[in-house]
């Protein structure tokens, strides 16, 4: 692992931020038709903090999260997960990174339809060939209220239940960072509220770090911090946001 000169090494006691992006640029196409999806984004995500990323469609928020998660390769700039520069990793290294250190929650739940809820939760550990921690599994299942749904297939679950199973799957490996991509996009308001409350608690109580892309100011208000993206650039930020302050900021940004 190499750490470039302008990034000072972190103190031994301090594990440093959960993830960092340094001057990320992502372009598509060539010549006159070039599209700059990310145009020099630098950001830091602290441990045990909850960050929301907002912005209009085409602002680059999905590209940003994909690059952060090692799913997409930036044109230039660097991404660190913990101390590790992920642009140095090959496909096998990225696979291991996703498997062991990252968690994902998607808008469309993305559970494997042929597996039961319990099997879906255990899937990352199964893929790694690890045993899951049974106490942690029980704890999560009880916290998320899905114990009586464990033997059901995804098609037998409601949207809210499916997303709670997806949350358990993301949390089971105690990842360094969870990426949530519009996690409430397909949920009704009650389920959305419950889910956001749980994510908030996971940050407060288990020290989980979360980065969430969302359109919804009410959801973003659960975060510690909001980053606003537009045209591939960071155009604003809020700490300890409320739904109102977020809406206010969005208005100012011409939304």
């Amino acid at each position: 692992m190499t750490v470039t000169d302008h990034v000072p090494p972190a103190a031994a006691a301090d594990p440093g931020p959960a993830a960092r992006a340094v001057d990320l640029v992502k372009t598509y196409g060539k010549g006159a038709t070039v599209v700059r999806a990310l145009d020099g984004v630098t950001a830091q995500f602290d441990r045990a903090s909850f960050t929301a990323i907002m912005g209009p469609s085409g602002s680059g928020k999905s590209t940003f999260v994909h690059c952060m998660a090692g799913l997409d390769v930036p044109t230039s700039g660097q991404v660190f997960v913990g101390q590790e520069a992920i642009d140095q990793l090959n496909d096998a290294g990225l696979t291991k990174l996703r498997r062991d250190r990252l968690g994902f929650v998607f808008q469309s739940f993305n559970l494997v339809p042929t597996l039961t809820a319990a099997e879906n939760i255990a899937l990352p550990a199964d893929l790694a060939g690890h045993k899951i921690d049974p106490a942690w599994f029980d704890f999560l299942v009880d916290q998320l209220g899905i114990r009586d749904r464990l033997t059901h297939r995804p098609t037998e679950l409601s949207g809210g239940q499916q997303q709670r199973v997806a949350c358990a799957r993301a949390l089971i490996g105690r990842p360094d960072l969870i990426f949530a991509d519009e996690p409430t996009g397909n949920l009704d308001s009650k389920s959305s509220g419950e889910l956001m409350a749980f994510l908030r608690r996971s940050v407060n109580e288990f020290g989980q770090s979360i980065v969430m892309v969302t359109h919804d100011p009410r959801g973003a208000a659960y975060a510690d911090r909001v980053i606003f993206l537009a045209d591939g650039k960071i155009v604003g930020g809020l700490t300890s946001p409320t739904a109102d302050s977020i809406l206010e900021q969005m208005k100012q940004l011409g939304n």
Partner: protein, 844 residues
């Protein structure tokens, strides 16, 4: 990961079953062939070992060279040898045996015919412990008027002890009294052959062996050192006579049967592998579609931390499980098929010695290896495509399709096809059958890879009349088949291969048929051709027939045709003999050099122009030759004739032939009648030959028709064997259409929602199926025609002089392919029509 793979498999049982059927059928074919031939092998080995169990030694003439299928041609030996052998201390008994042609006439006056097996006559060995024949009822033959026959024939034709039996022989037919019914070892007969046994002196007279034996069976005294005894016997034998153990004779008999079985088994295995090859195409296609449909799921697994290797393995694991399950089922069905086939052979009158089914470990290993192997190999390319799916495909709202550059496919496909053509050309010129096979496989794979190039334009053209005929449903079916040229081509590939093979056989068969019969009127001038009825064209008949035919009023010329094996220089070749007297009245011999009939009469050899060119022969050349009976000799070329479709490459006079072969049976007798071929002339001939009910007397036209019929029967058999491959291809189409319907649930729901009727949905799916099938069939017929022409052209030396493309048959194949496509669509079409509109629209 294993859990996800297994659960994924179980969730799609129908898909699994349809994919597996292709392999089940192929493996069934393979294992059935093995079980059947192993069983036959084992029963024949047991049978012959049992028969020769008590014959310690056999004295016989040395074989000059071996004929086809391991049969050796041996000269008879003097019967005085038996007396000499009997005097050797340690020899308990020595009995001479003779064999020859003896065909029974059934009580209804018709000759007893077999389907290819010989009609054997032999001497009955009265020393029961040495005899291969065991009296089942009645008594052994003891007088010149006695005969015993095998139990199989006796039962089938209702012969009973005491009956008078008419027997056709080398000389004039004779009537005998049936004194006994015998079994051959433990079997009722020998694989369909008929057996008539006489007492030894009678048999010697009947088979022209007076004073001679074909062999002497020897029984040793108990406790004698067999090696010493064998040496002692060898010392009293004249040159060119040998003594071998009974075990050796049993092994030779078993080996020659096994060679025939080996040919049978190889032929069946070729078709089994064709089926598996076609099955491989359908599996490749199914897995390609499955991977396509599971793009999102596989990408999700990659996001969650599945490595490329895990994704690759999961697809291959699915293939392995499908292959394994299918192979096990196929193996079981194969055993049942073998049982069924054996019963069928029995029903056809080919009585087989009883014996239990032989199920060798090799059958299991080959079946599993081949079944799993074909499935896994076919799934490798789809698995590689699965690996290329980027994880981000799970997150995007649109389907990200991992595409392989079509340029690379074109280059690789062309390279494989060109290499295939080269291998095929080399294989055909050498000739090397294995290379031909590899070449054909490579050509099919190459064409399969290139087919997507033409899929869109061809589907568009084929679909045009459907769109016109059926309106919107036809138009949509056409659009669907054009939407993914690659899938269209992949789905059609299996049918392409099946139809290519059918067309190859059709072109090849038509060429063989035309070459064999087209020039019959250019080859013979005889009014009638007499051949043996039955025996699958290999039947035998008495040499005395010619004499009887010559006595029929109006007959002006007779030529007896013989054929036999001899060594021309170093190569085993076929020699044909005709009567040179009034040659022009029976045979059309167009000479290029030298003389015809005079040269034959002078004992010279005539060769055809092809052989003369390839062997650098001119009139007057002297060539070394070897006959089994008479050994090395030299033959002088007396003339060179233009190829004659009935005469082969080497021609001598009947007199010359008879001096080098021991009592050969004629293959045909050519008869010229003064009045030509008339109904009255034929009736007269029939009357004159009434004593020989095994004869088939035909005019040239009838002969031609029956030759064509024979070729067509053989073709029919090949078509039946290829039908399985076509069936597998159709199952592949059913499978693809089912997957397409499933994939387009949402779209079909939309069409239904905006007013498409069920009938129209069915028409849409059927249109697509017909386009798919016709597309595959057209390419298949074109490729197959090319292959057929190549095969036929490469056998020009072997007498395929005319190359015929049977257009009407090929068009029939296209029509049949379209109808089969329609049939394949019926289930998927019904399923699509039954979709619940609301649920379909809701599904994503």
């Amino acid at each position: 990961m294993w859990k996800a793979t297994l659960k994924g498999l179980l969730a799609h049982k129908l898909r699994l079953a349809l994919t597996a059927v292709a392999i089940v059928l192929g493996v069934m074919f393979v294992s059935g062939t093995f079980v059947l031939t192993d069983t036959l092998h084992s029963t024949f080995t047991t049978l012959f070992n049992g028969i020769y169990q008590h014959v310690d030694f056999e004295v016989r003439g040395k074989a000059a060279f071996s004929g086809p299928a391991g049969s050796a041609v041996r000269s008879p030996i003097d019967q005085s040898i038996a007396q000499a052998v009997r005097k050797i201390p340690g020899v308990a008994d020595a009995v001479g045996t003779v064999t020859g042609y003896a065909q029974l006439v059934a009580t209804n006056g018709k000759a007893v015919t077999t389907s290819g097996a010989p009609t054997i006559g032999l001497s009955f060995n009265p020393v029961s412990q040495m005899s291969s024949l065991h009296i089942k009822s009645g008594s052994p033959p003891t007088s010149p008027n006695d005969v015993v026959i095998d139990a199989g024939t006796a039962t089938k034709y209702h012969f009973h002890v005491g009956h008078k039996v008419h027997v056709l022989l080398l000389g004039p037919p004779r009537t005998f009294t049936l004194t006994g019914i015998v079994t051959f070892g433990t079997a009722n007969n020998l694989a369909g052959a008929t057996i008539a046994a006489f007492d030894l002196p009678t048999a010697q007279t009947l088979f022209d062996r007076v004073g001679r034996y074909d062999a002497i069976d020897i029984l040793a005294k108990p406790g004698v050192n067999t090696a010493q005894l064998q040496r002692a016997i060898a010392r009293v034998l004249p040159p060119k006579v040998e003594v071998v153990t009974g075990q050796t004779v049993a092994n030779e008999a078993t080996n020659s049967i096994n060679q025939a079985l080996g040919f049978f088994s190889t032929a069946l295995l070729v078709f089994a592998f064709i089926s598996l090859f076609v099955g491989g195409f359908t599996i490749f296609n199914t897995f390609s579609i499955i991977v396509g449909q599971r793009t999102r799921e596989l990408a999700l697994l990659r996001v969650l931390g599945a490595s490329r290797r895990q994704v690759f393995r999961s697809v291959l694991a699915e293939a392995t499980i499908v292959g394994l399950v299918a192979s096990v089922v196929g193996l079981g069905l194969g055993v049942l098929a073998a049982v069924g086939l054996r019963a069928l052979l029995s029903a056809l009158g080919i009585s087989l010695p009883s014996g239990s089914l032989v199920f060798e470990l090799r059958t299991v290993i080959v079946a599993l290896l081949v079944g799993v192997g074909v499935t896994v190999v076919s799934a490798i390319s789809p698995a590689r495509r699965a690996v290329r799916i980027p994880p981000v495909a799970a997150l995007s709202e649109h389907d990200v399709v991992a595409t392989e550059s079509s340029r690379r496919r074109i280059i690789v496909g062309s390279a494989i096809a060109v290499l295939g053509v080269i291998a095929l050309a080399l294989g055909l010129t050498k000739p090397a059958i294995a290379l031909v096979g590899v070449g054909a496989v490579a050509i099919f794979i190459g064409i399969g890879m290139l087919a997507p190039l033409v899929a869109r334009p061809m589907a568009s053209v084929i679909g045009l009349p459907l769109a016109g005929l059926l309106g919107i449903p036809g138009k949509l079916g056409r659009e669907n088949s054009m939407r993914s040229p690659r899938r269209t081509a992949q789905t059609a590939a299996a049918l392409l291969v099946g139809l290519a093979l059918v067309s190859t056989i059709s072109v090849f068969g038509a060429s063989v048929s035309r070459s064999a019969t087209g020039s019959i009127d250019q080859a013979i001038s005889a009014s009638y051709i007499i051949t043996a009825a039955g025996g699958g064209g290999q039947g035998q008949f008495s040499a005395s027939t010619a004499g009887a035919a010559a006595r029929v009023p109006g007959v002006t010329a007779i030529s007896t045709v013989y054929t036999g094996e001899f060594k021309f220089r170093k190569d085993l070749s076929q020699l044909t003999a005709v009567s040179p007297n009034r040659l022009a009245q029976t045979i059309i011999l167009r000479m290029q050099n030298g003389s015809g009939a005079p040269a034959l009469t002078a004992g010279r050899l005539l060769v055809d122009t092809t052989t003369a060119t390839s062997d650098h022969l001119v009139v007057g050349s002297t060539v070394p030759a070897k006959f089994a009976l008479t050994g090395n000799t030299h033959m002088q070329v007396g003339g060179i004739f233009k190829p004659n479709s009935l005469l082969g490459s080497f021609l001598v006079s009947d007199k010359y032939f008879l001096s080098h072969f021991d009592n050969p049976l004629p293959v045909a007798v050519l008869v010229r009648s003064a009045a030509g071929a008339t109904a009255a002339g034929k009736a007269a001939l029939n009357a004159g030959l009434r004593a020989y009910p095994n004869l088939k007397i035909q005019t040239q036209a009838e002969f031609k028709a029956s030759q064509q019929k024979m070729v067509n029967q053989l073709l029919g058999l090949v078509y039946v064997l290829l039908a399985l491959a076509v069936l597998i291809a159709l199952i592949g189409i059913v499978n693809t259409l089912m997957l397409s319907v499933f994939e387009r649930t949402h779209e079909i729901g939309l069409l239904r929602a905006v007013g498409m009727r069920r009938r129209q949905v069915r028409a849409m799916i059927r249109s697509e199926a017909v386009i798919l099938s016709v597309f595959g069939a057209i390419i298949g017929v074109v490729v197959g025609t090319g292959l057929g022409i190549a095969f036929a052209a490469s056998l020009k030396q072997q007498g395929i002089t005319d190359i015929v493309v049977p257009f009407s048959s090929l068009i029939v194949f296209l029509v049949i392919a379209a109808l089969l496509g329609l049939a394949a669509a019926s289930w998927p079409a019904r399923r699509a029509a039954k979709l619940d509109v609301l649920a379909a629209i809701a599904s994503q």
